[in-house]
Point group: D2
Chain length 341, copies 4
Amino acid sequence: MITFESDYTTGCCPEILSRLVETNLEQVSGYGKDKYCQSAEEKIKKVCNAPDAQVEFIVGGTQTNQTIIAAMLQRYQGVIAAKTGHIACHEAGAIEYSGHKVIELPQVLGKLKASDVRNCLEIFYKDESHDHMVFPGMVYISHPTEYGTLYSLKELTELSQVCHDYDIPLFMDGARLGYGLMSKTTDVTIQDIARLTDVFYIGGTKVGALCGEAVVFTHGNRPEHFVTMKKQNGSLLAKGRLLGIQFDTLFTDDLYFKIAKHAIDMAERLKGIIEKKNIPFFLESPTNQQFVVLENKRMEELKKQVGFNFWETIDEDHTAVRFATCWSTTAEDLDFLENIL
Amino acid sequence: MITFESDYTTGCCPEILSRLVETNLEQVSGYGKDKYCQSAEEKIKKVCNAPDAQVEFIVGGTQTNQTIIAAMLQRYQGVIAAKTGHIACHEAGAIEYSGHKVIELPQVLGKLKASDVRNCLEIFYKDESHDHMVFPGMVYISHPTEYGTLYSLKELTELSQVCHDYDIPLFMDGARLGYGLMSKTTDVTIQDIARLTDVFYIGGTKVGALCGEAVVFTHGNRPEHFVTMKKQNGSLLAKGRLLGIQFDTLFTDDLYFKIAKHAIDMAERLKGIIEKKNIPFFLESPTNQQFVVLENKRMEELKKQVGFNFWETIDEDHTAVRFATCWSTTAEDLDFLENIL
Amino acid sequence: MITFESDYTTGCCPEILSRLVETNLEQVSGYGKDKYCQSAEEKIKKVCNAPDAQVEFIVGGTQTNQTIIAAMLQRYQGVIAAKTGHIACHEAGAIEYSGHKVIELPQVLGKLKASDVRNCLEIFYKDESHDHMVFPGMVYISHPTEYGTLYSLKELTELSQVCHDYDIPLFMDGARLGYGLMSKTTDVTIQDIARLTDVFYIGGTKVGALCGEAVVFTHGNRPEHFVTMKKQNGSLLAKGRLLGIQFDTLFTDDLYFKIAKHAIDMAERLKGIIEKKNIPFFLESPTNQQFVVLENKRMEELKKQVGFNFWETIDEDHTAVRFATCWSTTAEDLDFLENIL
Amino acid sequence: MITFESDYTTGCCPEILSRLVETNLEQVSGYGKDKYCQSAEEKIKKVCNAPDAQVEFIVGGTQTNQTIIAAMLQRYQGVIAAKTGHIACHEAGAIEYSGHKVIELPQVLGKLKASDVRNCLEIFYKDESHDHMVFPGMVYISHPTEYGTLYSLKELTELSQVCHDYDIPLFMDGARLGYGLMSKTTDVTIQDIARLTDVFYIGGTKVGALCGEAVVFTHGNRPEHFVTMKKQNGSLLAKGRLLGIQFDTLFTDDLYFKIAKHAIDMAERLKGIIEKKNIPFFLESPTNQQFVVLENKRMEELKKQVGFNFWETIDEDHTAVRFATCWSTTAEDLDFLENIL
């Protein structure tokens, strides 16, 4: 059955597989010290226009969030996130399991407002008993957000300014970064992100790789003994080449951007279909995830023919669901969907 | 300077000191296995009308919350609390430090609504991806709350019912329990609490003891190996007698209730003074903590004459502050306050 | 440069790559719920002769140890291991980071003695203050050990008996399991392991896969909510297919055993070369890792020509080093080594 | 029944109780910001001849060890301790529960040897894979040790030198410090300890207080945000006065030293009795704890008449037991013991 349930239903870009095959018998060192990781790091620094950046590769998203946050926070600090942020609600408490509070702030379309963050920090430091409270030690945002929405350059600049004013790092979860960068409406480039955040990651798992996220410490600010902390977190891969080769391929000839653009093109066509069929959107998303509202009866019938994802209950009779495109979505997949919708 | 800044500014009931002096040279075993702890346990079970209860003594409130919550939750579970609950905002992340998320729900006058808790649990179990979320494994309430407010018997019964329906324990932080029980307006008794909660504690530190909280597992539900978990949490006191003797004294001749009643009587007089002086209340509290709104200029002047507690910023010109009475507040203290207000 | 520094210097069996290519565009569900994971699970259960077993796939070894141990222990329990066990010394404290003590016992050639384990448990329960101690809650062994040695069937049976007597699980780290099973001298089969342990894993990373370890809960004893605990540990892979496909391939037509046998054959030839060259062994290993003692001067020269691994300092002039074979070691690699040794 | 089972069987020095009574109605701030804590701090700094020291008060020993170690270590570090150190074996894994490994080294009469510590650190930094290991980040010693033995000034100086050479703090658990300082044979003063360690504590619980340990950061090296970390650990006492008053009293007119000397005098007499009765010592202890070997039959009879503590099983027929004196031991207690031994 054709499915739009997520952007990780297929394997990876054929270019990656070819590269894995070609390099398979080469002997290289483990734990990320191989030439492919080094080459990928250089390419990523270049595309980010960030010569002082340091790049680390980690297998999956939750693992990356957990590893980065626990490595950058002091033990008396927590991380500010939108109430709907992935670390706040869909990582089974991985951050708290590492000992840190996720300080939840309200969200608007999945986004944190810079003014809310500033307010939170101001109140904290004004509170005479703040020594009895969790210190806000980092701001976490996802871009695209869990709702497929995007920060504008202005919003990102404001968030960066707040973090700078309070001397805490801004961390961007870019599990779906490619789809954000290739969105038709965005004014944010990867160079902007490298300039405005302190650490971010370029998602591979959901953008054409078998697995892997490339973490960018944007200005030589990788924590000391990071490799030991990765090991301690269980996130140091023995055959680091698996990640290096994938990202080296993704950042050769703009592959990462091309495949993300394809997914966005498919998403735009998907939006057109949904509009044509008069199915109401749950919210407006400029990226590869589209959220619509279905009557439950209709939803149950549709489920038998095509895959999609439960999002949230609207009322007794309606449910919000998600359709996602990705690098491997085809025109035929959309033709099929158009026919049955 | 006379101060109303908190209910822990003085030492303890003289009866406790006398008892410490009398028993000082008796040799008893450590770690809570002494006869005073046993006697205190029996008296508390009796006053709670809970013959199957088990009682444990711990030195302080945050320590008690941390020890109880981490002992009763599975590692994949978090604890539901009001956004204003002590564990959510004023314990420096002690619960998260133990690995567990505090699942914050909205509050009304510091209280959790049973319908919000039920809704949270319903949504959780309906969510098809709840395996990727923190399981709600306990409900935490404070009574009196951090705002000095109280649950009614009906509200408490409803919360108990929700917890029962979802088979998770209801835990009451009773750091100021005495003041709640002796409030003029409450319809909740300690027997009700023992019947409706799964675990609660009777605060000593803020109600006449030098230190100490008496934890009541209401129906023989103390977790296995609790003593080892206390030790692991650093909350097993070597000279357990210090806690046993204090609670044994507090639960002899209704001392606990008498001193709490005194504090309530003083608080009622304090309310009268505030009304007479036309100072606006920040909220209506039926217990020993009274919250009022002061103009900042007035506040600064008053600070030089009497102690009280910053609560929160209202606007640029106004601040909410707290005045607390306790077992040792005297009529003279209030006369003095009346004069200067 | 040819290297024998470890058994994870090359990619993976070509059969795995072919299978990844073939299945690449198939759409399957994430998080290990795909048909490849199911098929791999069935094949593993069959080869283990363990119809009630449950199989889970995790990306790497440290991650697997951390996830399994923290999921199976109560919080007041620790895990018994040899002082030289991987979790005791080479995982950067990943177990302690999860809150659990590694209770270190002496080792003999990298192995735990059943009598030492029994003694440790007996002393623990006899100690009148054991409530103030970490409860031994699991026994961890590695097979092959970190020194390439193997438990005999008798030794394994005795360890199993001790664990059974004290009702704690026996956990076998099988990161290099294939090489142990195919050793010329072993009398232990995978069915024995499935019968005698409570949980073990079949290493993929070091035995022909790109990554991945297959955890076998041998008798339906997978902990409840294991998927949530994996998520919490950052060890739940989104594209679970990557692990499923690899293990499904490894357990088709005995591929896992064939490639492990090849590595053992190569190791036997390597031993012959070492003997012929009169280089002293550091210890006798019947598996794919061979440990020899080199004069430091010789070692430094050799380093320029071939890769191998520092093991430990013997004295000022001598060092123990490791040469490892694997599925991809060729006769030519050994010819080369023979020439330069 | 008279008991020698531990040095925490009685309450506290009468001087402390008097002081608690006298000060009981004074209103002071909470959380250790009261004048008694300040005064005690000054007195302790003076007696230590350490003008830059900072003093913090914590209720109990395990709590103190847990709070100090977790506040001073980086998360990738562990603490070196003797295998018999309190944190290694009798604190229910409180250190590991905080995420840190206790790196166990051999002991000689309960003491760490400086050469073993140096060796451990040397090997660690020489090991090429030390990034995969727990970094040794602190050395923990107890003085007196768990066996009642003492470091000589030379031994302490050597340990201090090793720590200095490797730039890690030396931490002394002084739960029974007074008895060590007053030992007839020691050449170590409290000023030596303040000079040679980076942090140590002066035990109150076992030396005449109801509870409390005074932590001394010897050279202005208290970790930043220590109060928040105490709160997070549940070790910040609301009525800090309880600790301040006790230590202020103990360090007035040398009370701490006088009561410790009394206990040592009693221990010397106890040793004489044991010798006279030809009961073999388990080991030679110069402090208030005396360890002897009893035949099991004799031990069982004796248990009915006097209290003492199980220490460890020697063989099937013999057991090592502990007799402890303390500030409140009387000549009559010893007369009684002499009669029945």
